[in-house]
Amino acid sequence: MLTAPSLGYLLLSPMIIVFAAAVIGVLVEAFMGKTHRAAAQLTISIGALLLALVQLWRIRDLSSTTAAVNSVTIDKAGIFLQATVVILALIAVLLIADQENFTAQASAVPGSNEEAVALLQKNQQTEIFPLFLFAVGGMMLFPVATDLITLFVALEVFSLPLYLLAGLSRRRRLLSQEAALKYFLLGAYASAFFLFGAAFLYGYAGTISLVGISAAAGSANEVFLLIGIIFVSIGLLFKISAVPFHSWTPDVYQGAPTPITAFMAACTKVAAFGALLRIFYIGFAEAQTMWQPIITVIAILTMVLGSVVAIAQRDVKRMLAYSSIAHAGFLLSGVVALSKDGLAASLFYLMAYGLTTLAAFGIIGLVRDSTGEVTDLNRWVGLGKKSPLVGSVFAFLLLSFAGIPLTSGFIGKFAIFSAAYQSGNIAIVVSGVLASAIAAFFYIRVIIMIFFTDPVNDSVSVIIPSVKSKISISVATVASMVFGLAPSLLLTTATNFATFIK
């Protein structure tokens, strides 16, 4: 007879709330009339995320490895990561709520009559909201999952909706669909690698739990362990767009609707790094001599390549895509550090980077001409003259990406590099600062275009943002600013929450 597993409902409640809301969202989509559907969906999404945040606050001091039969570990770092995902998602959903960016009917063939009619009749479908909530739920599960199967399930749960969302752009739909297809195919490969590695690890350790793998390290032929680690890492490195698994990033960032890019860039990074940190800190810590050199090399390659290639970009979304690759490299030094300081620094960095990214993409969504968003940097010239406020905020965000003091990006960089230095990985620190110097070049070049060049005739204008976008961008910017000037609160919280339990 099967016994029902005992579940820690309180500990799982944040995730359950989000998933339940996603299911309700599907039902709303199916049964509700189109007049109030968008408002209802938005309310459900925001409500669910707020509720999840409240639940996370209530369970902030609890921890358990058996919340869901050993496959989910709720601990301090897990709760912090989940909260980060939820907070960033809350800001992102306000950007997504600007329906105007999404195709009215995803099933309509681009350029077809059907599409035009749907647009004309304002037959806007709102399936983005449930898809978004499923992705958020998966992202919350990913960093707390502690066995390989749950990790894989979580990976797929948040990836599949993202593949779809990436293809839903209203304008330049073919580019958007191409991006979605590319993301899906490469993502599927990466998932296969992950599974392949998981099989090896199971073969090696006889268990799929991270703790079990850690305990088994050194007990059998280490080649299998190494193969397992490498393939599982590939699956994860793909998600964080580390070199050489980064090639999808610029295309997808460019093709996806900008609010989705914002959400993806901020939240996927948190979830994937959360999982990566847990896997390496818990599962592979005993085998650190095996993987540390590999990850170190990948980190260095990632930051250098991301920074160098970004210089050649002429599209602001592609440029930020390469910048996100470079940041993935910086974040990997937190993984390599393998210490409490490294974990705390990563937690801070993820939050700070996520906020800055959301605000930056939010602003990109505002810069338009008559046909829609303009991401060609050559047409951004003189933006600072036309709209000084938007120009200045964007310049501030770029300086934060570049890690100039008094921005949150600088504190994050300092924290993560000092953790890496402390653990003896001085090569990473030196490469990191050199890559930062290269990266500074292209951030500053954009500032020049915005401020030091006179506007030309075909340059763009900034639309008046909707209230939702306004709230979203200003909250993210202000938070990013505060964490730069007075980072103590977040840093202390990150340090207090920087523990994984086994």
Binding site: A344, K385, L399, A402, I404, P405, L406, F410, I411, F414, A415, F417, S418, Y421, Q422, I426, V429, V430, G432, V433, L434, S436, A437, A440, F441, I444, R445, I448, F451, F452, T453, A486, P487, S488, L491, T492, T495
Partner: protein, 501 residues
């Protein structure tokens, strides 16, 4: 809250208030900026009056926790060296504001923005000299670049945006190398005495030689770019040519001093052993800078380029004096920083007026100014003579001290350095002859002499140059104790004393 913090915060407060003045009311903006910066100058003089010369520890200290997770404090304090540099900054800013009254009118952005940037910059200049917490220093050191970048790029001339970018990238590159070293020092302090950024505590660290050398280099390259020392100097002439004269004064007069100040405060105080190891190399670079800067200056056709290259030569002297590791050299260099600040300010401001009147910066376009505009010509003449270190003017005392101080330890370097003085006579006297004397060049006949505002602005600078030439004692009294302390703490004694035995 100490007076020092107040002095530092005042410009920032002023910037915030200026922001409230309507954009159109440019005269009010300018007057208010002048008022605020003058107040800061007065307040900083109170700082000097209240300063106790008899002790060498930090004064007017204040320390508040800023980022507790890394034990970073908002810690400020001044000793003799930082006090004179703060005075230099706070006195120069109102002079620049008054002297370059119309500089901001033709900029890319509003007049208001210009003065907001200047005031923010002033806060950071004071902060960078006052910080006694390594992290805080770094924050000011890097954040300072941003207002300068916008000042050059937004209000400069010709190649302003390219020059602004070059300036920023050079400085950022150096700054990031320094960041790696700061992280290193921080981690080592964590292993030895508990993580800290407090300068006095960091000076007690025991670092093994190889690590110390690398950490030293991280700091030194950053400061050598800032100072700028050959071969890290190429950004300076471009930046000085593109920036407005007022910005150039602040850039060469104050900001570049952060480099030489940093060499004393961080390179020597934190890494005395590595400083010893690298001294021969640095002295060589300094001597090359002196000669190279002088030769390049002789060849300049552009008046701003000329001043920029003379500065490279002068920074060579300052660096040589610092790393000679004698009390005379150290005091001389500190005094030189102040004197160079005022001489360069005079040169740049007057050159700026000349260029604005003639609408050209080419030396050969001027000629016979002595007849047309006697007051302007005389002021330029005095500033020039101070630049070539004529006895009786400010720079002479400091250059003499540097050379004497260097001779006792590195006679060859000092002798080659002396050549720099001879070359200085060439690079100053030839342009002076071309611009001020001889027949009036066509196009210059209608040139107007200095107006009252300009006279008021330049008078204090000329006065300081002359007074400091005859009576440098008040400033030297502030500098000497600290200089001695730096040299002693680095483990050096003056070679002169040994000769006497």
């Amino acid at each position: 809250m100490s007076l020092l913090t107040l002095v530092g915060a005042l410009p920032l407060l002023g910037a915030a208030l200026i922001y409230l003045i309507p954009n159109k009311n440019t005269e009010l903006v300018k007057k208010f900026a002048l008022l605020v910066t003058t107040l800061v100058a007065v307040a900083s003089i109170f700082l000097a009056i209240g300063f106790d010369k008899s002790v060498t520890t930090m004064q007017f200290t204040q320390s508040n926790s800023w980022i507790s997770a890394f034990n970073i404090n908002f810690a400020v304090g001044i000793d003799g060296i930082s006090l004179v540099l703060i005075l230099l900054s706070t006195i120069l800013v109102p002079i620049v504001v008054l002297a370059t009254w119309h500089e901001s009118d033709g900029g890319r952005w509003s007049v208001k923005t210009f003065y907001v940037l200047i005031l923010i910059l002033e806060t950071m200049m004071i902060g960078v000299f006052a910080a006694t917490d390594l992290f805080l220093f770094y924050v000011f050191f890097e954040a300072m670049l941003i207002p300068v970048y916008f000042l050059i790029g937004g209000y400069g001339s010709a190649n302003r945006s390219a020059a602004a970018v070059k300036f920023l990238l050079y400085s950022l590159f150096g700054g990031l190398l320094m960041l790696a070293s700061i992280i290193g020092v921080y981690v080592i302090s964590g292993n030895q005495i508990g993580a800290t950024f407090d300068l006095t505590q960091l000076a007690t660290l025991e670092i093994d030689n190889q690590t110390e050398n690398f950490l030293f280099l991280g700091f030194f390259i950053a400061f050598a770019i800032k100072a700028p020392l050959w071969p890290f100097h190429t950004w300076l002439p471009d930046a000085a040519k593109a920036a407005t004269p007022g910005t150039s004064v602040l850039l060469l007069g104050v900001l570049d001093k952060v480099g030489t100040y940093g060499m004393i405060r961080f390179c020597i105080e934190l890494f005395p052993d590595a400083s010893k190891t690298f001294t021969p190399l640095i002295i060589t670079l300094a001597v090359i800078s002196i000669i190279y800067g002088a030769f390049m200056a002789i060849g300049q056709k552009d008046i701003k380029g000329l001043i920029a290259f003379t500065s490279i030569s002068h920074f060579g002297f300052i660096t040589m004096g610092i790393f000679a590791m004698t009390t005379q050299g150290m005091s001389g260099s500190n005094l030189y920083m102040v004197n160079h600040g005022f001489s360069t300010a005079a040169l740049f401001l007057i050159a700026g007026w000349m260029m604005a009147r003639r609408n050209s910066s080419i030396i050969s376009d001027f000629g016979g100014l002595q007849r047309v505009t006697p007051v302007m010509a005389w002021s330029f003449f005095i500033a020039g003579l101070s630049g070539l270190a004529l006895p009786g003017l400010a720079s002479f005392v400091s250059e003499f001290l540097v050379l004497v101080g260097t001779y006792t330890r590195y006679p060859v370097a000092a002798i080659i350095g002396t050549l720099g003085i001879i070359l200085a006579a060439l690079y100053i006297l030839i342009p002076i002859q071309k611009t001020l004397h001889g027949p009036v060049t066509p196009g210059n006949e209608k040139m107007t002499d200095l107006n009252l505002r300009e006279k008021i602005a330049i008078a204090p600078v000329i006065a300081i140059i002359v007074v400091m030439g005859f009576y440098p004692k008040p400033v030297l009294d502030l500098i000497n104790p600290t200089s001695e302390k730096v040299v002693t703490n680095a483990g050096f004694t003056d070679p002169v004393a040994e000769v006497n035995k």
